[in-house]
Amino acid sequence: MIQEVARVPLAVGEDLVIRKQRLGDGTPRLCVVTGTHGDELEGQYVAWRLNRLLQENSKHLHGTVDIYPALNPLGISTMTRGMPLCDLDMNRTFPGSREGAMSELIAARLMEDITGADACIDIHASNIFLREIPQVRINVNTAEKLVPLAKYLNMNLLWVHGAATVLESTLAHSLNAVGTPTLVVEMGIGIRITRTFGEQLLTGILSLMAHLGMWDAPVPPVAPPIVSSDGAVSFVNAGCSGVFFPTAEHGTRVEEGQELGMIADPLTGDIRAVLRSPVNGLLFTLREYPVVYEGSLIARILGGSI
């Protein structure tokens, strides 16, 4: 059943409406949310596939699954990462406030709707610049509770990262703070859909549902993920500007000193820099958008003591 979560009148002949699909009933309840950033579309495939699969196999569903394909409908419809009009990153407005501006009011209504679920999966797709392998990102303060759940999601990597205050205004942090376990999935790249990653996560969602007692159809086994802390992640940033041509392949193992790519100057024909891996490890993030500035993130490598 399609349900309305929030409705706000826009200025001229249109309302901003956030909707969800509610499948099944009773407990436990799982929420699958995506589309917070309008340029991240990987979650659209997962929402569509999960929707169809659960509707076609409803006898196996025990409990409620709420699917929210578009938390930021104006952003998705206009290929805008943030919320158009106010230029705000929606994932910096939570938990919101009923007394605040429109964006905060919407955030508050979403919080009210999701709070109390037995689990929530918040699907992201990096941004338009970087490609990511399927992973779950977990704040170190919630790792004890979330890592056991995240292992069911069939992702390649669980990255347990340090606590940064700016992340306190995200949906996931706000939900975890009120006791609703929320897992942030990052995979693929902005404005594209990687169907293999979507299928991988779909299996993971069914596996988590089975663990929660919500799904009794057979689920393929999931591979155990690598669990990593910040200390095991090495960053490679551009030291100069230019155009980046990768030579290493995303998602593969690289050796210390191995060439990851070069930064070239199309005007002079020069190679301005050759970028190499600082460690042996898994190349889990790789620059996709070619134009780079000093400081642009080129790669993240999972190496060292995992």
Binding site: V8, A101, F129, V243, Y293, G295, L297
Partner: protein, 312 residues
Amino acid sequence: MKEEVLFTMETPYRQPLAVKGWFFGAPEKKTLAVMGALRGNEIQQMYLCARLIRSLRELELSGSLSEDCGILVIPCANQFSMNVGRRFWAADNTDINRMFPGYDAGETTQRIAAWIFEALQGYTYGVHVASLYLPGSCLPHLRIMKTGYQTPETARDFGLPYVALRQPHPYDTTTLNYNWQIWDTQAFSLYTPTTDRIDTASADKGVEAILRFLQKRGLCRCSVEEQDKEICIFDEEILCNVKPEVGGLLVHKTVLGSRVQQGQPLAEVLDPCGGTLRQILCAPMDGRIFFAHESCLINGFDVALRVLPDLK
């Protein structure tokens, strides 16, 4: 006066970003730093700094700056975005004022924030000539973050009629104001009503406020008038949002700064095509219009106005 390039960053396809500072007074003293435009639409903020530079140059030439006073003004750190009409960093849409204290080995705007912050370090007083995140105009005022290190009484020396104290939200912790204060600079954000257009009168008031502050602190001799008006220091939370329940055309019936009485009509929301009246927005209490939504169009639950209640 010494004009100096504080740092440069090369950019592909365009000229390097060269961020300049203007130094006045004693080179070895770090008394006051003033930061202007961090966003590409902060034209008024850059203009105010340019006016300040002109005034300080005259004061320095006339020997009116104290020998204990050293001042740095950075009018603009984001011409890269300003020259192409973009508000945030034009390459990746990140906000430099959400990157402080910065990280010099991090991503591009983290590095820019780190280099700016390095240049602004060690000053006793810091003024960030800032713009609002909400689209609209506000009365000229100073804002101070309540970090535990705030010094609101010092703000009285600027002589601006309003000083707002803000309880930091999580996203405030990456602003210049917040980090300046944490790193031992008495930091103030200076707001004037406009951002992407010049309002000369309020820019002049801003410049006067900074010069008045210097004069009151014994750091310069100048002919800025004393402010007679009482200075109102208030917690930002007391500002009362006035929001429509419907969207439409917004027609203001009052102007920024007006005294209003409870129940007084402040604005109307009209059906944008049919022209019928959808809602009258009334003052929730006696007070003064402190913020007004600028766009002609308004969505339901957008903040149309903010009223500063009369303080007992």
